[in-house]
Symmetry: C2
Subunit: 227 residues, 2 copies
């Protein structure tokens, strides 16, 4: 129901190319040609161009000079920066949401939070469900913030693979804490306390950042062990 029917070819191209880039099938730094992307997504070059423009805007694809296309190659600093910007902007979104959220949205958040709790408390935890509900949770907040600007900017900072990789490596207690954050956010919204909401959201994101960083370290160690 979520990623539903994108009938337009340019949307199909967007999804396919995005997946192609993010799944790691394409190497970072690798060149992409419009024709190749057209073959991959099964449409002509015209909608591919539109899709590429969008992905370029999200910095998933970069242009050399101002012509050829390449898969973006993120540095550690880029990742840090993403989390810092997310912290600021999602914190701001939470702050606005606390002021603008409706009763109905609050109820929705509660419902999502229930499902999320169940996913976390299952053994083993249902990571896929966690991710889906987590995303839904943040989407509702963004909607409640009622800021077209934020709605345009924030999604480009939340690369699902980063979120996913973070969650995959979460320990159970970290998942539980994440779920508790959601509960506390709902409390802050219900109290219409913008400062509280911002603070909770900020620490929520920062914790995710550190969890992500640790997985980077773990991966490094694993690679070393494999040598």
């Amino acid at each position: 129901m979520e990623k539903a029917a994108s009938q337009r070819a340019s949307d199909v191209a967007y999804d396919k190319i995005r997946q192609f880039v993010l799944s790691g099938t394409a190497e970072p730094g690798e060149q992409l040609t419009e024709e190749q992307l057209a073959r991959i997504s099964g449409v002509s070059r015209t909608p591919v161009r539109e899709a590429v423009r969008r992905l370029e805007n999200e910095l998933l694809i970069v242009r050399s000079g101002s012509k050829r296309l390449f898969v973006a190659d993120w540095s550690a600093d880029d990742i840090d920066e993403m989390f810092i910007l997310r912290g600021m902007l999602e914190g701001h979104a939470a702050s606005r949401a606390a002021r603008n959220i409706t009763e109905q949205m609050l109820e929705e958040l509660a419902t999502v939070s229930d499902v999320l709790d169940a996913a976390v408390q299952a053994s083993p935890p249902d990571i896929a469900a966690f991710l889906a509900q987590n995303r839904r949770f943040h989407d509702i907040i963004l909607e409640a913030a009622r800021s077209p600007r934020l709605s345009a900017i924030l999604p480009t900072l939340i690369e699902q693979p980063v979120v996913s990789r973070t969650a995959q490596q979460y320990r159970v207690d970290e998942l539980l804490q994440s779920a508790r954050d959601h509960r506390e956010l709902i409390a802050a919204f219900a109290a219409r306390d913008a400062h509280w909401a911002r603070a909770v959201m900020t620490s929520h994101i920062r914790r995710a950042f550190h969890a992500f960083s640790i997985t980077a370290v773990r991966r490094k160690e694993q690679r070393r062990a494999n040598d």
Copy 2:
């Protein structure tokens, strides 16, 4: 040398349509068709579509339902939000710049600042020169911040007409304070003091916001006087 040769038709279209929308020639809420925009910019619909995509991303153009194009109509809340986001992000940019700026860039900032001072102290103040140098100043900082993300996001929040309208209505003492801010920013950068730089930049933007708001009030009064 700055806005130089955008030879690509899609860039020509972008500039023309942007000007068309921002100059007020097109009424907010008015419908735009791709063909009309193609006529205006003297190119075919294909590059127009790319230009429209970009402008859509900047929220200068919006899509109704999911097709037709309209000139965006900003509410007061939208403007507030723009200044808040600018404050956060330009503050962050200044903070990063304080850590990453090169000696050469510092010298450039000093040069720009000299020209800016001269423009402000002339009588009457040279607003056009002020705007040009002000823009250059902020561009250098953004470059010094070395954050591709910020470079992608920030320009969409800085609508030149807003900046221009703000500056047009600045009183002389406000212009002087703005120039002093720039000097202080340079000092903060030279000291490599990220917190200082952020604070100065934040108040710099907030002052601009209030100057802008006051012009809105003045305009309202003028309109009333004209009735």
